[in-house]
Symmetry: D2
Subunit: 143 residues, 4 copies
């Protein structure tokens, strides 16, 4: 497998086994080593009392995106901490895209920046997340 | 109304109109001015591929808790940014409690610390969130 | 004055009156509305027990850079909070450059990303800072 | 040596070899395993153009405090990232105290909360810092 194929296999593997991300309706937009973009449709159940998408679910979209990006090398990585800026809100029916880029990959930790944008290309949220590399493989052994 | 009664009315008002928090099954544990504690049951749909509660949904619990705490004065406040530390994971069936305390309340911004604990009292996550005070009342005029 | 000239006048004004930034030997590299880059030479007095530049002084460089960038519109802004990632260390004698870009400018708050690099162009630290806009002018009235 | 004595030896060792902390005039207030408190006098050279203590130097005080706290076990730890909230300013002549408490100590990373207060006991800044444990001893072998 090429690094691109491996990255895709890892993200596919994670999303298939992730009930939370599937409940949020997350869809894969693009994958590369250290990079993932996911899409989410804002449903009524995702809105809060101000009739905008709940900030926690915006964060959940970003969190899945960065966790998937950190696992594209077939090595298990876990999000250990993250910072989020909420810049603009989204309403029901909007389609949001979260895109994670790798800012650093050290021996034990890695760092990702996630940008959530709406269909108009406006930035809704910025997330910076730190991941711990656990040193064991993500994918099961091939037969 | 006393400040305590006002705080309770505000949180009740917010939760009643918040489909996202209700979908997550959030329940009120305690309320006081500047303080809220909420409870969440971890369901299968909240777990990820590592069979633990999705970090984004842990954050969503904390985000609702801090947003409710910031709105206990009958003045609309919005979470503008937050930092989260993931210290320990939760599995399906666990009951988690998020408790928000006010660290600072300035003229335009306020600061809250949220701690998520499990039934054994272990800390799962720490969230520090900043809120913008918008200056308008939360509750509708009473008739 | 053009916006560029105003930005330069603001940064000049701030640095001239800032004993801390002057003690650190900070020098202006470039200025534009919402952007500032500053340079710092790492002296022996800036190193810590691991013989690398003290993280707090790396942050101080970034903090001045983002504060200056936030004040380029002749409106006083104060740094209210910031996050820093330390990715690589610097040793005595190195010349570091911090560059701040504006990520958002809301009515009351603004957001800046600062990158500190060494002479080889390697990233040493990333700082994300939030500023409160105070609504009053920075420069004294002209006579 | 007791853990308390070891902690004190580690902090003494670090401060003695840290030109930056010494230039800032940092003084040890108290030490225990996972805990350190340091004191700093705000001099003219620490103030900025608003005639208050430069935020970067407030952070530097907190950064030394948390780095020292993380090294009290005679195992080298480095600050990898931190978040700071600036709540209140300090003026020339004030004496500030930073106190670090350990929030978590995992196998590879640890987490500290630092509070900076003034002589009146008011909170000036809150810092949350993450440290990487490097696994090697801090103190030189005893002869």
């Amino acid at each position: 497998m090429t690094p691109e194929q491996l990255a895709t296999a890892c993200v596919r593997h994670m999303l298939d086994r992730d009930p939370a991300s599937r409940s949020l309706g997350l869809e894969i937009v693009s994958v590369a080593p250290g990079h993932v973009a996911l899409r989410m449709h804002v449903t009524t159940d995702m809105t809060n009392g101000f009739e905008v998408c709940h900030g926690g679910l915006l964060f959940a979209l970003a969190d899945s995106t960065l966790a998937f990006a950190a696992n594209t090398y077939d090595e298990v990585a876990m999000v250990s901490s993250a910072d989020v800026e909420f810049l603009r809100s989204a309403t029901r029916g909007e389609v949001l895209t979260a895109s994670a880029v790798e800012r650093n990959r050290g021996k034990r930790n890695s760092l990702y920046d996630v940008t959530i944008t709406n269909a108009a290309g406006e930035t809704l949220a910025l997330v910076r997340g730190r991941c711990a590399r656990l040193g064991r493989t993500l994918l099961p052994p091939r037969q």
